[in-house]
Subunit: 195 residues, 2 copies
C-alpha cells in the first residue's frame, strides 16, 4: 500500500527528522533503531532510506541544522551597544533559543561522541564559533574596563555552562516564566563578570 493519498515526500521527510529528533533525545542515538523511527512515522524501515542515506546522516543533519540556526540567530544581533548590552543580548538570546529547543540542545551536547570524526569536526567548528562570539564580548568589556574578568576563556566556558544548564530543569508552564528566568540568569551573569 504505497501512496495512500497525495505525494508524501515533502511530508514524510520532516516527519522522519522529527521522529529521529524526539527519539534520539529521549533514548540516545545508539539506543534508537531505524525500525523504531519508522514505526513512529508509520512506515517500514526501508522507506526511511528515501530521506537519509544512513542513520549517521540523520544525526549529523539534526545537529548541523541546530548549530547553524543558533549561529544565524546570534549573528542577527547587532552588538552596536556597550559590552554590557551585548552580554545581556547574548544571555537572553541563549536562554530563549535553548529553552525553545530542548531536544535539539540535548542531542547537540550528548551525541557528539556518536558522530564520525569528519562530522564531529564540522560540529565542533560551529560550536567554537559560537563560543568565540561570547569571548569577544567579554574581552571587549575587559578592555573597556566594564568587566572584571581574570580569564576570558574560562569565563566564556563558565557562562555558557551556566546558561545551558537551564535546560535541565526549566519547563514552560512551570513555577517561573521564561521572562523571569531570563532576568534571574542575567543578574547572575552580570554580577559574575563584575558588570
Amino acid at each position: 500500500m504505497a501512496r495512500t493519498q497525495g505525494s508524501h515526500s515533502d511530508i514524510t521527510g520532516p516527519r522522519v527528522r522529527a521522529a529521529a529528533l524526539q527519539l534520539f533525545a529521549q533514548h540516545g542515538y545508539a539506543a534508537v533503531s531505524m525500525r523504531q523511527i519508522a514505526r513512529e512515522v508509520g512506515v517500514q524501515a526501508g522507506a526511511l532510506y528515501n530521506y537519509t542515506p544512513d542513520k549517521q546522516s540523520l544525526l549529523f543533519d539534526l545537529m548541523q541544522t541546530h548549530m547553524t540556526e543558533l549561529l544565524a540567530a546570534r549573528e542577527d544581533l547587532q552588538d552596536s551597544g556597550s559590552p554590557t548590552e551585548a552580554l545581556e543580548n547574548f544571555t537572553r538570546l541563549h536562554l530563549r533559543f535553548h529553552s525553545e529547543r530542548p531536544d535539539e540542545v540535548f542531542i547537540a551536547y550528548m551525541e557528539l561522541r556518536n558522530l564520525t570524526p569528519e562530522n564531529f569536526a564540522v560540529i565542533e567548528e560551529l560550536r567554537r564559533k559560537y563560543e568565540d562570539a561570547l569571548e569577544t564580548i567579554l574581552r571587549a568589556g575587559v578592555e573597556k574596563g566594564d568587566f572584571e574578568v581574570s580569564d576570558p576563556k574560562i569565563a566564556t566556558m563558565a557562562v555558557i555552562a551556566m546558561l545551558t544548564g537551564v535546560n535541565t530543569w526549566f519547563r514552560e508552564g512551570g513555577r517561573l516564566s521564561l521572562a523571569e528566568v531570563e532576568q534571574i540568569y542575567w543578574d547572575m551573569v552580570r554580577k559574575s563578570v563584575g558588570a
Copy 2:
C-alpha cells in the same frame, strides 16, 4: 585456561568495573557491548557474569558509587563558618572532586536515561541531596544578608551547572593548574551570588 595464577575474583572484579567505566564514558552505555568490556579485561563475555548480574547493574553500581562518594565527601566538610566560607568550601570541593573523576561525572550526567526507572529514582534522590546542600548554604546566606540571590533554587542549579562545566575543558597539565581554576571559579561564584 582458567586461573593461570592465584585467585582472581578480587582482581577481576575491579578490573571489570574499571573497563566498564572507561568504555561507557568514551562510547556511551548503549554503544558498548559486554564483549567489548570482556576484551578490555582479557576474558570471555560469559565470565563477566561472575561479577555483575547484568549490564544494567554495572551501570547502576558505577553511578551509585560515584554519587555516594560525592555525598560522603560533602558531608566531611564542616560548615561551621559563615555562609560565604561554606560556599567557598562547596565550590572548591566540587571542582576538585569532579576534575579528579571525569569519567564518573560524564556517566553520571549522560547515562541517566539508560537506567531502569527504579535505579533512576535512587540516583535522582542522591543528586537531590547534593543539590539541597548547596541550596541550604545559599538560603542561609540570604537570611543572614550575606548573599544577594532572588531565587535560591535557580541559583543552585546555575552554580552547579557552571561548576560541573569545568569537566568539558579542564585537563590536568594544561594551561592552568587546578588551584588557579578553583580561584577563578570561586571568584565568579562569589560575585554571582553577591557575596
